[in-house]
Symmetry: C2
DNA sequence: GGAAAAGTATACAGGTCGGTGCAATGATGC
DNA sequence: GCATCATTGCACCGACCTGTATACTTTTCC
């Protein structure tokens, strides 16, 4: 009824779902493989058959988070601001506990390990997403502004992690609007597009 | 020759210096009390005579970092921007590894413990420092702008932790200048103060 | 039906962790 | 000098960690 490969990848998905929830909620170091196996409802031996070491599990956990943001059909300026709105919705989930990449780097004992590379790739991809929106807008220096957007996002993430107040996302959005406006983007009233070029 | 109390606090200082270096460089969870005792050159028993548990040591470690930034005699606008310059110098130290409070919260297994309260107090104090500078400048909404400054600082700290590029501090400073200017602060050429109010 | 694969439970190895007990040694204060 | 305190080394505890070994049962494929 079910092919071996299907069953295998399905089990891997179950394991990764548990690992994701537990690693993210309590930290990578704080969660042992026994806890994950018990949460999935499998034996530890089975878990090690699917992931030969905890490091592999951690890597798969972070790679699962490396998906780019879903692209929308909004015009680029609103697309950027909508990203901050999405941030606020994410913050409002009670399970929110910061950026898994930043957290992983923060609790890594060795500074330059493989997790750091994954985190850098993730951040660079997000920055590139901002940069492409900004290039589409025709701002003078999209790279510079993309870095500033990332500063606001990561600042909001860190603040949310510590303070636990989701309204910081709105503050970041406000700052982003000011920076966009200062760069020549008419973002505040996008539907009014007659005259103030 | 040396009073008991002096010797005691001196030993506590030695312990805290080692704990600070090791906790900050490798993370709180990754460093055991044995490692700290060996680094100080004392027995584990002596360490436990000065700090009855590892949690006390962690608390003392974070409280050591809770000092406010040294106030300078610069005018408030430059005082704020000088804070970003100080950030860049801090980033350039090879031992830099992010904000100890954010890192502590990121690697804490339980979300709402005592460390979080210390981290919140620290961040609020820094934010208040920005707010007082901005109030001195007479900007319309110093609280709002102080939050934005903190977003840039924490964003730069997180980015520096992951990417390891100290120039992000300059990007944060640039963004801060834009936000200050947009709020009515003439910050870019402070010495030219004739006419453009 | 029967072999091969994958799952199970249990136990264990070898290590580190935070924290304690204890006897002995050294320094300090009066 | 003597009592007191700090410190030491070392063994030890129980708990937890990653990872493995064994032996048994279930499922799947042909």
């Amino acid at each position: 009824m079910m092919l071996r490969a299907e069953a295998k990848s399905l089990m891997q998905e179950r394991i990764l779902r548990s690992a994701d929830r537990l690693f993210y909620a309590h930290g990578i170091q704080a969660i042992g493989v026994d806890t994950i196996a018990a949460d999935v409802g499998i034996s530890k031996r089975t878990l090690y058959n699917h992931f030969p070491s905890k490091a592999d599990l951690i890597r798969a956990y972070l790679e699962r988070w490396s998906q780019p943001p879903a692209s929308t059909e909004l015009p680029p300026a609103e697309r950027i601001l909508a990203e901050f709105d999405r941030l606020e919705r994410t913050f409002s989930q009670p399970s929110y506990r910061g950026c898994p990449f930043i957290n992983a780097v923060a609790e890594a004992a060795e500074p330059a390990d493989e997790l750091t590379r994954l985190a850098i790739d993730f951040k660079k991809a997000r920055r590139r997403w901002f940069a492409s929106c900004l290039a589409e807008l025709g701002v003078p220096d999209p790279e510079r502004l993309a870095t500033q957007m990332m500063l606001l996002v990561d600042g909001a993430v860190a603040t949310m992690l510590v303070q636990g107040d989701a309204s910081i996302a709105r503050a970041a959005r406000d700052a982003a609007e000011v920076l966009l406006t200062a760069a020549g983007v008419a973002a505040r009233r996008p539907r009014v597009s007659h005259g103030e070029a």
